[in-house]
């Protein structure tokens, strides 16, 4: 377990150490790890190259809106699959799997055309509109799998008691599918925090871009400025790690309870 942790932690450690190396030095021959002396000013330099505060705010807004919408939409869709019968159920699962097979690049142009057509392109929240379509069919299938473990008799009894489909979802399915909800929330948070191809193609104005796209542009800087790029990477990675640190207790307790 410790060995495995080291494997996963190593890139993060290299990133943090690299972020305090002195910029404008020749690229090192190997892995030049230990900075001497540490250049903390690299962190201040990041905002000289990209409007960091604004990009972080855009990303935060994106995550705050897109993640809850994704969870609601995909959990409802997952329940719809589980409560469907026979051929319809198989058909819905088939469509979800088929949609998973469509390469992301094939959707870039249709998405831009669609969103622009309805006048919703070019806002900080444009990318969040993907959440209305569930972000990815994988999350829908994840919920369908989780809900399939709920006894059918329970859902049928609730319906016979006169509960509306919404009430069945809200009062029975969602509480029982909490681990799936936590997992989808975690995965979609990571997705919206790190996506750069969607905003690159969907959002026209750089002022509305999320921070991942800013990091992408820093990654193209010359090798001599890589410490500044890595400082940017630390700044962008830190909130995701922090969110995980805060959310991990709830995540593990939800999984353990299941």
């Amino acid at each position: 377990m410790i060995a495995l942790s080291v494997v996963f932690l190593a890139p993060l450690i290299v990133m943090v150490l690299g972020s305090v190396q002195r910029p404008l030095q020749p690229p090192p021959d190997g892995l030049d790890l230990w900075p001497d002396p540490a250049q903390w000013s690299n962190y201040l330099a990041v905002s000289r190259f990209i409007p960091l505060a604004r990009l972080l705010l855009n990303s935060l807004l994106l995550v705050v809106v897109a993640v809850p919408v994704t969870v609601v939409v995909t959990s409802m869709a997952g329940l719809a699959i589980v409560t469907a019968r026979g051929g319809l159920r198989r058909g819905l699962i088939g469509v979800s799997v088929f949609m998973l097979l469509v390469p992301a690049a094939a959707l870039w142009v249709p998405r831009v055309v669609l969103l622009r057509g309805v006048g919703l392109a070019d806002t900080p929240l444009t990318v969040a509109l993907l959440a209305l379509a569930g972000t990815t069919p994988f999350y829908v299938l994840l919920f369908a799998l989780a809900y399939s473990r709920i006894p059918v008799s329970l859902l049928e009894a609730a319906t016979l008691e006169g509960l509306s489909p919404y009430a069945v979802w809200r009062r029975i399915a969602l509480p029982l599918g909490r681990p799936a909800a936590v997992a989808v929330a975690a995965l979609s948070t990571l997705y919206y925090w790190s996506t750069f191809m969607d905003p690159l193609t969907l959002v026209s104005s750089p002022g509305n871009w999320p921070v991942a796209l800013g990091l992408r542009s820093l990654s193209e800087m010359e090798a001599a400025l890589y410490p500044i790029y890595l400082a940017g990477a630390v700044i962008v990675t830190a909130p995701a790690l922090l969110a995980f640190a805060i959310g991990q207790r709830s995540f593990f307790s939800a999984v353990e309870r299941s």
Binding site: W108, V109, R116, A121, S204, S217, E222, A224, L225
Partner: protein, 413 residues
């Protein structure tokens, strides 16, 4: 890169080539998309700020990384959200013209009082397609030899002289190869090979204006490529493992390679390397002098609602002040003769001291074919040359493969 180019091609099929009626508003805001890293973006911000100080309108700058520029441009055009002005390399622009995405710039710039006779002809020719000047060249770079002064001195080798021959080049590279230092690094791409092929009297394609097949297997081109393969066989170039570990430019920065071939684009990064003493030299000749054109130009999108404002900005950017601002950034060789020959570009105070080499190459500049499928052809040739240069695959096998894969692409036009 291949996937992105493919996407660009697919996306462009969705284009509708309809030029909108110009709304004659000179001060209207426009959007400019350029391929630039964050440091280069600062140069364009200075350009826009100087333009505003000179009474110009608002320009929204969108800087996109190297890998993403064409992707974003293609999706933006397909959705009708294209930038008013974009900067593009001549090897990438024909598909955009073919799909009606570019508004020919000649008449627009004439109205702004720009005379193309003040500019170098070669890039203007490269951006002339379907008998009209489509975009206005910003720069005119060419392939040169970057060399490390300290490593030359250390090996006791004389600096490269103008008009040096291929044999002298090979001998120099061998003399510089000692211990951990390799003499020269050459990327396996057609833009690096083309000058040698032309210099040796060969050709890349059968007809440069309307190519239908590649001619790299024919005697002139084959001999030039053979000479490069022979140079690699001497061990004077980095090995496959060394190339996998570090890019050529970084190997040059760290003194592992004494010479490498590239265009002007390397200068800002090399200037930032403390202690690196470098200069540029002309390409060695195998027969007649030759070099290959590298140029980017400002294009106006056919969908722009403000072509007048777009033309005004371009006129400023390619004018004396605009070109001086971009020349001081170090990355471009100005396309305007008067700025290219001014201290803004030639000043020896900042390396490379021999910037004139870029201007001396201009009379011998030729360009690769301007045809919509060229980006894909380049990819095919690059992949195959890499097999010959790095994996030791026999040259004739590679040349046959290039013919097999690239010729159908050229005929597809």
């Amino acid at each position: 890169m291949k996937a992105r180019r493919l996407l660009a091609a697919v996306a462009l099929f969705g284009l509708v080539g309809c030029a909108t009626q110009p709304a004659e508003s000179a001060g209207a805001p426009i959007r400019l998309q350029v391929r630039a890293d964050p440091e280069e973006a600062a140069v364009y911000r200075s350009l826009i700020s100087a333009y505003k100080d000179a009474g110009g309108g608002d320009v929204e700058l969108v800087t996109v990384g190297r890998e993403d520029h064409l992707t974003r441009l293609s999706t933006a055009f397909a959705s009708g959200d294209a930038p008013d002005v974009f900067l593009i390399n001549y090897r990438d622009y024909p598909p955009f013209v073919q799909r009606g995405a570019v508004r020919p710039i000649g008449p627009l710039l004439e109205q702004e009082g720009i005379s193309t006779s003040d500019y170098y002809e070669q890039p203007l020719r490269a951006f002339t397609y379907q008998d009209a000047l489509q975009c206005m060249p910003q720069n005119i770079s060419s392939l040169v030899v970057y060399w490390n002064r300290a490593l030359f001195k250390q090996a006791g080798v004389a600096p490269p002289a103008a008009g040096w021959t291929w044999d002298e080049f090979v001998r120099t590279a061998q003399a510089l190869t000692t211990g951990s230092v390799k003499g020269v690094g050459i990327d396996p791409s057609i833009t690096r090979m083309a000058p040698f092929i032309w210099s040796r009297g060969g050709a890349i394609v059968d007809d440069e204006n309307a190519p239908t097949r590649t001619t790299l297997h024919e005697p002139g081109a084959r001999a030039a490529l053979r000479a490069v393969v022979d140079l690699i066989a001497t061990g004077a170039t980095p090995t496959k493992d060394q190339l996998a570990a570090q890019r050529l430019d970084e190997q040059f920065m760290t003194g592992k390679v004494a010479m490498f071939l590239s265009s002007r684009v390397e200068v800002p990064a090399l200037r930032e390397q403390r202690g690196l003493d470098f200069d540029v030299a002309a390409l060695p000749v195998m027969g007649a002098p030759a070099s290959v054109l590298h140029t980017d130009a400002y294009c106006v999108a056919s969908t722009s609602k403000n072509p007048k404002a777009a033309a005004m900005f371009i006129a400023y950017a390619v004018g004396r002040q605009g070109q001086t601002v971009t020349a001081l950034g170090g990355r471009t060789v100005p396309s305007l003769r008067s700025v290219a020959t001014s201290p803004a570009f030639l000043s020896p105070a900042r390396p490379p001291a021999s910037s004139r080499v870029f201007l001396d190459a201009i009379p011998h500049l030729r360009h690769t074919p301007v045809t919509p499928s060229w980006p894909e052809v380049e990819d095919v040739i690059g992949t195959q040359l890499q097999r010959a240069f790095e994996d030791g695959v026999p040259l004739d096998e590679v040349l046959a493969e290039i013919q097999k894969q690239a010729d159908p692409l050229l005929r597809r036009r």
